[in-house]
Amino acid sequence: MLQGTLDLLILRTLLWGPTHGHAIAKTIERNSAAVLQVEQGSLYPALHRLIKRGLISFETGTSENNRRAKYYRLTPKGRRRLHVETTKWDKLAGAIARILRPAEEKVD
């Protein structure tokens, strides 16, 4: 999977509020309907990359079963970036779709 894609998915997931690493992984799995199979571990380099770039931040909170855990949250900068990237992505997806659809119609 493309690195940028995973970053985008993480940002997208955090749009609903701060959450911890495992939950992010689960959400991505669920939302992409298991189409995008990710080794869960690869989530962490991506999270750290986003923290370094200031797109997300984290705080230490308590998880469901009273364990200390990191909660990752979107920063304003991350929110803006998500907006820009989503727009770009939509445009790109639209373009691809327009290219592919006539071909599909022909085959059909």
């Binding site: 690493g21 495992h22 992984a25 080794e39 869960q40 571990g41 962490y44 380099p45 750290h48």
Partner: protein, 894 residues
Amino acid sequence: MSRRKKMLGELDDDVRQHIEIETRENIESGMTPEEAHYAALRKFGNPALVKEQVRDVWGWTWLERFLQDLRFGWRQLRRSPGFTVVAVLSLALGIGANSTIFSVIDALLYRPLPYEHPGRLVVIWATEPGHPDQNEAPPIAESVDWSKQNDVFEKIGLTSFNSTEPAAGLGAPQLIESQAVTPAFFDVLGVKPILGRVFLAQEAQDRAQTVVISDRFWKSHFNRDPKVLGKSFRISGVVSTIVGVMPPGFAPFYGQPTDLWEPINPQSARYSKRIDHWLMPVARLKAGVTLQQAQAEMNVIPRRLARAYPATNKGVGKRLVPLQKELFGETRGPLYMLLGAVGFVLLIACVNVANLLQSRTEGRRKEYALRASLGAGRKRLVQQLLVESGLLAMLAGAFGVLLTFAGIRVFLALAEGFPLADRITVNGPVLEFTLAVSILTVLLFGLAPALRASSPNLDRALREGERRTAAGSRGVARHGLVICEVALAMVLLVGAGLMINTMLHLQRVDPGFDPNDVLAMAVNLPEGRKYVERVPGGDWEKWHPAVNVFHQQLLERVAALPGVESAGFVSGVPTRWADHGSFSVVGQPPPSPDHRPQTAYTEASPGYFRTMRIPLIKGRYLDERDTESTPWVIDVSEAFVRRYFPNQDPIGKAILMRYGGYEVDEVRPREIVGVVGDVKQFGLGGPPTPFLYTSYFQQPVALIGGRIADHLRGDLVVRTTTNLHAEEPELVAAAKKIVAGLDPDLPVTGVTSLNQVMEDSIGDYRFLMQLLGIFASMALLLAVIGIYGVISYFVADRTHEIGIRVALGAQRADVLRLIARLGLTLSSLGVAIGLGLAFGLTRLIAGALFGVKPADPVTYAAVAVSLMAVAFLASYIPAHRATTVDPMVALRHE
């Protein structure tokens, strides 16, 4: 940094927690705890890799990794001390040899001379008409004209070479090393005295003179007494008063210790005839003036001088040479040749270590494969191996620096009296060079094995048994390296062999006399009042009858000593010194000034020929009957006859001699009374040249310029009746006593045997032979280690196969043949390539060879055979070990 640390510190917890949560969820969905855990791990991927990737995100990892690799590399090297020691020492040997030669090159060719703005110092030589490529010293007085007429030089000073003079008034009679300079000389170099002053513009040597002494002389003779100024003593009989002391280390230009400087005034009437050329002019260019501009100016001034002084300056040109180039330019060729030789040694060392390293990487293939499968990238593996190689090279470089210190001492010990010896040190540029060479070696020996070790098909190595059959391409590379090694060693051995051959030829040269059992010592009469008198108004000097008395009595008394067969006196013993001059034949039309017949000559006493056993070919030797009042006679050499009287009887012909560089004929003709054998007066390697001998007792009373010194100085030669051992202390003491009895102020120096003189005369050849010999031995040693290593590896690699062969009935001889064949194949290929290389490269030392051609077949054959023999021995030992393999053990092995 702290943020990074915090982020990474909590990473372990994060990962563990992630896996725990996943495990719990798995359990909740009905798995057993064990299943759940493994499923979680599978889903997470490789935690180590994840952590590494996260570390990557936070940067700084190259340093961290580097340190990690360094620690790891160090552990690896310590784990196999044998490998490490051999590799480090091989490389250190190569690096040390290179740095040693480089330190010499740096000292002579690159490091600026220790004077102010040394790049602006040039030497001004004269070129005679018809000989535009020969540098001659211009007349002393000319420097005054240049100073007035040019606008490219800031200052011009003149200096002589060092000369040895007797000094009196400093305790026992002794010799001092003096240099004659014009007052401007010190200013030209920009060196100021540490005490007193240098010479004033008009100061010059005469009845009395001022002198400037060196720091060394100040210390040894005056214990650095600050009240030394104004003290006086006699040098060559001239009263000399100290006016200044130069700083420590000041010794222009050859690094020889100079005791003091005497003044010469180029404006004095003495040099007005413009016929004395015995000083080297050194000028300082004005700031911003280039050598070309100055040369252009010095192309114009000589034309003006030629018009003003047609007798001495017609057609004479001037050539400017940068001082450093003048002093050491000639050493460039030989030094770079030596650098090439040590470069070969280093290459061999690198090849060796590359081979060792490769054997090691083969052995560690499983380790690399394992690491690669655990997620280590190829780049990472290469980097780690290069760091390990770098560590090796740096260790070797450090040892190499130590070896350089030793190497410089060996070099200077072999090259006695090497110029600027104290400038040859391990300094900044030498260390930089060593570092650069060390880094180069890493690239040479480390890169290939590193790339190979990380090659993609590593997984094969993980499979058992793979090692035994995959020798293929790796073996070829390894064998190629050994071939290279042998070829390089071959080149150096041929070079050393040619030099050894040269020495053998030189030692077999007939010098034209019998140097056995002859003692030589220098007895130089001073130019002081006791023996010499200046003729006023000109450059002529008269010697007193005391000179003849001294020589006659000395010879008579020494010849009468017990154990002495005969004694003689000569201006200079062969290979040390001779005069040059030209002549015209009496009764023939005078030769044109440009084509006067040239000859070298010495003055000799009657006993000289018998003492030296120079064979008489025709006529008679000079003898006791030839005195001032009888007709003046000479003996000439066979080469002289061949050149100037071919197919004629020279006996009875008379010549008028002219001292080299002067335009005045001798007054009395000299008649040829004998022809004697050719003597190698200019070195054993030189061709026989025209030579003649005049008698000590038939010399003009008044002599011109420096000519008087040649009459006063000379070597006493004494043939002993018994075998001459060492320096014969009793005989020397007796001779010294005789000299002291004749003149108590006179020192006797340079006591030696003529055999030693002959040995010394081929010192340069011997020096080159020894250096090439050392380098070739190093190359051979390293090549032997290389061959031994590769054959050993071959044997270890085939233990299994050999076991099977033996089990199937192979004999010891078969096994030996199998292995020895490999050794011989490799070494003969190496020798073949080496022959070709040597053939091309030994041309570079053609100039240093004597009696042997660069492509001497005997040398090549001898070296090839010995190299093969050594290579065979190096492969025999591991081969022999292979024959002792117990088939049961070999087959059971893995």
